[in-house]
């Protein structure tokens, strides 16, 4: 059986950080007629629900995550005319200001890339099996609650 990297070359789940310039170059390689690249980077905020955050830990469901992200990515390609797209999501321990997630979309014209990147992020937030656990400076540990606003953001894209 093929591994996730072969099955889903545009989806990466990794502990390592990523480099925006490198990933943008990879995204565009082999694709012609690109005029617009929209990249979204989600970062660890130093404050959540009014409290300082010291550590953020990301857990995921291996196998289902890749499948869910690829489904979202292909849905974006169905809805808009895109040349290429990729999703990288980190797992494990992260710290304030660290990069968590990258969604990058390339298209001929900017309109499509903006909409598709936004759509992918909104769907990822509510449909990809990742869970955040935060450690406060005093050592308290808590699971992050899902946001109603994320459900509403997803609902906006309903056909």
């Amino acid at each position: 059986m093929k591994n996730a990297e072969e099955m889903y070359p545009y989806i990466k789940i990794q502990q390592a950080d990523f480099d925006l310039t490198v990933e943008n170059a990879k995204l565009r390689t082999g694709h012609k007629d690109i005029g617009a690249v929209v990249s979204f980077v989600g970062t660890v905020r130093d404050i959540n629900e009014g409290d300082e955050v010291a550590i953020l830990e990301l857990e995921h469901y291996p196998g289902m995550t890749e499948k869910a992200l690829e489904k979202i990515r292909l849905e974006a390609h169905d809805r808009w005319s895109l040349e290429a797209s990729l999703i990288i999501h980190r797992i494990g321990k992260m710290y304030p200001a660290d990069q968590i997630v990258l969604v990058a979309v390339a298209s001929r014209h900017r309109e499509n890339a903006f909409h598709a990147a936004h759509f992918i992020m909104d769907y990822l937030k509510t449909n990809a099996p990742f869970w955040k656990k935060e450690t406060l400076p005093d050592g308290d540990v808590r699971w992050v609650d899902s946001r109603v606003s994320d459900k509403e953001a997803e609902a906006r894209w309903a056909v």
Binding site: E59, M64, V101, K125, N127, A128, P129, F130, K133, S146
Partner: protein
């Protein structure tokens, strides 16, 4: 057998990440009913929790989803990635 996985707060609350059960339940709901008999903790987590999310073989599922031998059933809270 059916493979059962627990993630995030469910894994911590129930004290285990995965287990195998004989494939003798026709739906996820039937499987949950048996698991809930283990005690209050399990009843709370799987039966009375309106936030329970279910996946079968890596696809979003519900209590009505049919299951068979070899399936992977996962229980977890609402996702919070990104």
């Amino acid at each position: 057998m059916v493979n059962i996985l627990y993630f995030a707060s469910f894994r911590e609350m129930l004290g285990q990440a995965d287990e195998q059960m004989p494939a003798q339940h026709s739906t996820v709901g039937a499987l949950i009913s048996e698991l809930a008999q283990r005690g209050d903790l399990w009843k709370q987590a799987l039966l009375e929790n309106t936030n329970l999310q279910i996946a079968v073989n890596h696809d979003v599922a519900s209590r009505e989803t049919a299951i068979k031998a070899g399936d992977e059933v996962a229980f977890f809270p609402p996702v919070t990635g990104g």
